[in-house]
Symmetry: C2
Subunit: 475 residues, 2 copies
């Protein structure tokens, strides 16, 4: 998000004090507030303070991988940007949790039955590291709570085989992810006057549960499934260009959001004062085709979406349209809040796990990777890497991806052929999918030999870096 967020950073910084009327009547001096979470790299990297400093060396851009194996030897690698910000604004996290039931057998014994899940998340911060740190520290707790809320219904759909189980179960897990994303964003809103300005971040999250993969995405990080040299996208990029329809419709329905400077209309070429009275081609927010109108003074306003591709912007300010935070972000010159156009709502894609070989993986990475390679290139690198390495092969594959995208430093950071490399933060998970299918098959077998009773006690917990938090409730 390097180039695209330069102006967002300016916007956020210049706008903070101006727009931030404290909601409870007290004026906070944001400069003196502490951050909610101290800066650091993902816990699973096991870096000491010195190593955290070293990891942000913009000249070296060292590629960091985990000190201990991740679940099923999942691969991870990251490197810092080439100088756009002091710290690495990406964050990554994984957690393993269970949804459990204690069931009573016919002879009165208590038997514990657990549905395991694994969660991976990547958050790409902008205008600061705060929002990404909050998401990396808090989102999995919220998702776990939402899954516990849905646990009874997930159980019913799991154990009562006559129901159209998977479709309903999908809607419960999708709903848990959707409502968790909303709550995470609300939390950042509530925290905005209590902690140091957090900026914003994109979010991509994958949940592996009950033989399926759920990828929830809000932003321009990307998830793809690689199978040999083929790949299947598991997310779409939420940029102003891709979200043109949603944003222009919102602008048309709530014109006050546009102030006096912006319009929801689009013109084939930017109208100029000299063309007043002439016929121009335009389209309204809902239109797919082009129509004609006589150029009026109000047509000289700026379109709410400008630019194309990687250079597209909302109100000339931000190049990504979904994620968490940005509650204080304003359009630089016009002093209009951007947030109503940004959404924390994720798109959730579902994939049934049917891999037969251990080379089928989910690649989840920030745009630092995708700025310099497409899915086909990533699949090619992964396929080569998984064949070449036997030991720690998923970590090696992640390292190969980050290494390729970062390139090497000559006068500037360059790819192998000499083209510009990625100067953004780069974070990559390479997650093997076969183990989660096997885990599910084992669960199904255990389930078929268990006698579920109506009377039960629920226990659910999430592993927090080795420490287990447990909730018990009677049902």
């Amino acid at each position: 998000m390097l180039n695209r967020l330069k102006s967002a950073v300016i916007g956020a910084v210049s706008g903070l004090e101006a727009t931030n009327g404290a909601t409870d009547g007290v004026q906070y001096n944001k400069a003196t507030l502490a951050p909610k979470f101290p800066y650091g790299r993902p816990h699973f990297l096991g870096l000491g303070d010195d190593e955290v400093q070293m990891s942000a060396d913009h000249k070296l851009r060292p590629i960091i991988h985990p000190s201990k194996p991740l679940p099923y030897n999942t691969g991870y690698a990251e490197c810092v940007n080439a100088g756009k910000s002091r710290w690495n604004e990406d964050q990554a996290v994984y957690r393993q949790g269970v949804l459990s039931k204690l069931t009573q057998t016919d002879v009165g014994n208590i038997q514990k039955f657990s549905i395991p899940y694994t969660y991976y998340g990547i958050f790409d911060g902008h205008a600061g590291v705060g929002a990404a740190l909050c998401a990396a520290n808090q989102l999995h707790h919220i998702i776990h709570e939402k899954l516990v809320d849905a646990q009874d219904d997930i159980w019913i759909h799991f154990t009562e085989k006559h129901l159209p189980t998977t479709k309903h179960r999908d809607l419960l897990i999708i709903g848990a992810l959707e409502s968790a994303f909303r709550e995470m964003d609300q939390l950042l809103l509530e925290d905005r006057n209590k902690y140091q300005a957090a900026g914003g971040c994109t979010a991509i999250v994958s949940l592996l549960i009950l033989g399926k993969l759920y990828v929830a995405n809000a932003g321009d990080s990307r998830g793809i499934i690689c199978r040999g040299e083929k790949f299947v996208p598991m997310s779409m990029d939420f940029t102003p260009e891709n979200e043109r329809d949603r944003i222009r419709r919102l602008a048309q329905e709530q014109p006050a959001l546009l102030g006096k400077e912006f319009t929801c209309k689009e013109y084939l070429s930017q109208p100029r004062a000299g063309d007043l009275g002439k016929t121009v081609m335009f389209r309204d927010a809902y239109m797919k085709g082009w129509a004609y109108k006589t150029l009026q003074p109000e047509d000289l306003k700026v379109s709410v979406i400008t630019g194309h591709g990687k250079r597209s912007r909302v109100m000339g300010t931000i190049g990504v349209t979904r994620g968490f935070g940005d509650h204080d972000l304003i359009a630089v010159y016009q002093k209009l809040p951007i947030k109503p156009f940004l959404s924390s709502h994720p798109e959730v894609q579902v994939h049934s796990l049917l891999p037969t070989e251990n080379n089928e993986v989910l690649v989840m990475a920030t745009d630092g990777l995708w700025d310099v390679m497409d899915g086909a290139k990533a699949a090619e690198i992964i396929a080569k890497s998984l064949t070449a390495f036997e030991d720690k092969k998923f970590v090696s594959a992640a390292t190969c991806l980050v290494g390729y995208a970062r390139g090497s430093l000559n006068n500037s950071w360059q790819l192998k052929g000499g083209k510009p490399a990625s100067c953004d933060d780069i974070s990559v998970f390479v997650i093997p999918l076969l183990p989660y299918k096997l885990e599910y098959e084992e669960l199904l077998q255990k389930c078929s030999s268990t006698d579920f009773k109506d009377s039960c006690i629920e226990v659910s917990h999430v592993e927090e870096n080795g420490e287990v938090e447990e909730e018990v409730s009677e049902c």
Copy 2:
């Protein structure tokens, strides 16, 4: 739209005087205003006054077809409803127009070059016959104007073969249809205090021009292409159920539209006062999945969309979400305007004409037909009919479709097997597509032998039941 609009009719009638504050400060007595267009059947049926009366015989429900052949022997048939309203609230229209250029040859002769087009429209009225009559009498003029606006650019894309012609041309024609639909709806808004209450109508329109078929649809009439016993949908039905997302998002963004009675949230089962404090499953406007919340008093409101399938409603009132008019329609009990949730914006589908046989047809019909048959059944009836009849085969096919759907009167109107037949108005076009492909091939041939000059004079006209209106302008 029989069952679905009963309450809409009540709503419109009960609400007219209540909500209709005249915009210019003058109070109109709507009861004394004249209709904009007198009631009648489509001109091309050639019915006299007595025949118009007879065509509305609810006991006989005669199937009417055109007195003279339509372009390329296009088929049409209609019959009135079984008593839900005095008159047939469907309207149908066709027009043939041209976009013309007068070009100057090298030797100074003026040469005329024309792009022909054919237009078919079906409008299904509710809460009166007014809106459908206005659309049948006016929409083709507006579309012609919009095509003339786009004519220069259509010409450029047609004559300069090196341009990526068809994609751009499509966007111009789609834009013409989209903006014409908007203007038609605006016209009904402007007319609401000048003429008798017009109610509302759905609209499906097809435009055959330059070797392509454009189907613009706003409502629950339907267009399908039939090829042998196979069919391809050329439109989607805009019902509250299908438009759930758009309507609930609009409601979430503009909660004032919901008054105190409605909510944009959806609940798995309707919350009851006795369940306050309990956990319920819900989804917010943007959600695809289900989540959980504790039932609060505000959750006892009614969802803005209720019911499923043919029984789905916006604010308990109307069962169709796109079309023209309805500017005075209000929710019966809550006195809230419905119009902000209804849209005149059409979806436009494009189809390249490549038929090789004369049995490939576009079937366009009101929901009176589709209430009792699906696309597969229609294709089956068409295929049999086109094989059985040699003379007037498209009119025969249209008649077979209407006859099947109307059924016969025993105690009630019944299909052949005894199931209930359609009691709604039924109108059907069966349009052969091969002639339009041949027409285009001829045009291409003529075009390749013509020398186009920059200097030209434009002439465009539309045939109005035999009378030709002509516009001439220098360019």
